[in-house]
Symmetry: C2
DNA sequence: CCTAAACAATTGACTCCATCAACTATTGAG
DNA sequence: CTCAATAGTTGATGGAGTCAATTGTTTAGG
């Protein structure tokens, strides 16, 4: 880093404005969310590198993750990815070329093709999931009570039953 | 959605395997992190759409967000984005063409160019930040106690002093 | 039955993001 | 002064995203 001549470059650790911009005090969800977003964001930054550890693009890693619980139609995958169906074609082309998945034509409806993990794909998926579940520092360093509380809070939020 | 003929497509609400894969019970950070990751992930899925509300690409939105606290050298921005410097050139080209930023040559070091937000860029940034701080449903629906606890936990985790 | 609408997947044209290698201009150290 | 290092750009290439158009298939209506 040599361009550090006197000017304000502020790359050090960026505490940013995590305090909530003048602290509206009434807007609890926004405050909590902004903090979460910060963590999320710094972590998502190295997701491409994480995927690259397995010679996957970020999206391929994402697909591999979603593909765990049974065959998915192309269009269903497109819905998961919130993207156009035409996009999935090329994406799956590349993954099929690497032997991670195969297209299987449905017999009930010959328009649809279902994606099935190959052995190799399933194995890679296991390794990937294991790697992705490794928490970042900010989480790993938290106190056990905070971790427990966080887990329970998130369960309540994500599993509304 | 017409391809729903009997087969297992499981797109409904995807509770996924949030319980932690056989519940190792010892690995608290992994459990908490996996839950956080789930939220993160479903939220990041519509970030492109959010950016598109402002006619920005996801990366442009990201840059606009980072560009708030003063001029940044191109290389510094590349470091923020964890990407190659050559990438930033075209990125900034497009943003400059839309009048959001300008390149200003440094006088101390004529190699570096600093990015400065234009009026329009700064205004758009404000609107963008406001929009981005809107919490997703899973957060908005949380109980106040959980929100408080979550905020405090995240503050402890992110502002280690 | 048969035609027309709806739908799954693909293709083609296009843009943006990302990487790498090569290049220019500038700085700074010996 | 010379030479290595640095900041930014360019060019080639590929993945990922969009949209519009096409093909093959299903389904619903007349």
């Amino acid at each position: 880093m040599s361009g550090m001549n006197g000017s304000s470059e502020h790359l050090e650790k960026k505490p940013a404005d995590l305090r909530g911009r003048a602290e509206p005090a009434g807007d609890l969800p926004r405050q909590a969310w902004t903090l979460l977003f910060e963590l999320m964001h710094t972590h998502m930054r190295n997701f491409p590198a994480l995927a690259a550890e397995f010679d996957l693009s970020p999206v391929q890693a994402h697909v591999l993750r979603q593909l765990g619980e049974g065959p998915l139609a192309m269009s269903t995958l497109a819905a998961y990815l919130s993207c156009d169906a035409s996009n999935v074609t090329g994406l799956v082309d590349r993954m099929e070329a690497r032997g991670l998945v195969v297209r299987r034509s449905s017999e009930q409806d010959r328009r649809v093709k279902r994606l099935v993990l190959t052995e190799e794909g399933a194995a890679l998926r296991e390794r990937l999931l294991q790697r992705m579940s490794e928490p970042p520092e900010a989480i790993a360093n938290m106190a056990d009570e905070d971790l427990c509380a966080l887990r329970d809070i998130m369960r309540r939020a994500l599993c509304p039953q």
